[in-house]
């Protein structure tokens, strides 16, 4: 049996809005090298940007040099992206799905991530930051 080799790219950027675009472009480059099609790359771009936006808006302690991290791990069949910060975290139970009949300005981010990715895990503890791990498969949607 051939062992699938894992390729890992690690990225760390300042907790500032202008770096979300940088993360999106890095992701595009990695995903297209791996062989994802345009539609899946678009899905991942939005999902990752949502996670980055959260890290910047909710995750940061607003220290002057606050940063957050994005890890990309690929093997032959999937790309796993983890976005994590060491900010204030939150209680996961408090995050609710949006009511699509009564749209609000906020609260769409995590719902969008879950809709666009094949698998999503969220870990957080108050005071200990947040980590969103999301997976997209190369093959047909599952």
């Amino acid at each position: 049996m051939i062992e699938n080799q894992l390729d890992e790219v690690k990225l760390s950027v300042p907790s500032k809005p202008e770096y979300v675009g940088v993360v999106r472009l890095t992701l595009s480059a990695i995903a297209s090298r791996i062989g994802f099609d345009v539609e899946k790359i678009e899905d991942m771009k939005v999902a990752v940007a949502e996670a980055c936006t959260n890290a910047i808006m909710h995750g940061c302690r607003c220290a002057k040099d606050s940063k957050f991290n994005i890890d990309f791990v690929s093997n032959g069949e999937k790309l796993t992206i983890s976005v994590y910060d060491d900010g204030k975290g939150c209680e996961l139970e408090s995050i609710q799905d949006p009511n699509l009949n009564e749209p609000k300005e906020g609260g769409l981010g995590i719902f969008i991530i879950k809709s666009l990715m094949d698998q999503v895990d969220i870990e957080s503890e108050e005071g200990k930051g947040m980590m969103i791990k999301m997976i997209k498969y190369l093959g047909d949607d599952i």
Binding site: V20, G21, R24, E39, V46, A49, L100, F111
Partner: protein
């Protein structure tokens, strides 16, 4: 990685016409919000958005559209979106916003 907002007021038919091109994300969202706020404060009329060159939008941008629509609804006005790209369309479907805004093909 930037956003252009081109707006004009059609006084004959009383609506705002807005061409968006580029990307709406947490970095460029402020620019979009300011544009809509200025428009609404000037004239609270329908806003027609040509999204042909809107390559990317995420929840930050959608939130601004929702907030703008809420203010328009006070006077029974709407947001009309035209020429939407498939990736943007997908997001509107997922979030149910395609039923809140008026989508013209």
């Amino acid at each position: 990685m930037s956003l252009q907002v081109k707006k004009s007021y059609n006084s004959e038919n009383k609506y705002w016409y807005v061409e968006l091109s580029g990307e709406v994300d947490v970095y460029t969202a402020g620019q979009l919000k300011d544009a809509f706020t200025n428009m609404i404060e000037d004239k609270k009329e329908n806003i027609k958005i040509n999204a042909q060159d809107l390559e990317y939008i995420d929840s930050t941008g959608l939130g601004i559209l929702i907030g703008t629509l809420k203010r328009l609804k006070e006077k029974d006005k709407n947001i009309i979106l035209t020429n939407i790209r498939s990736n943007v369309k997908k997001l509107l479907n997922i979030t149910g916003l395609d039923k809140i805004f008026i989508i013209e093909e």
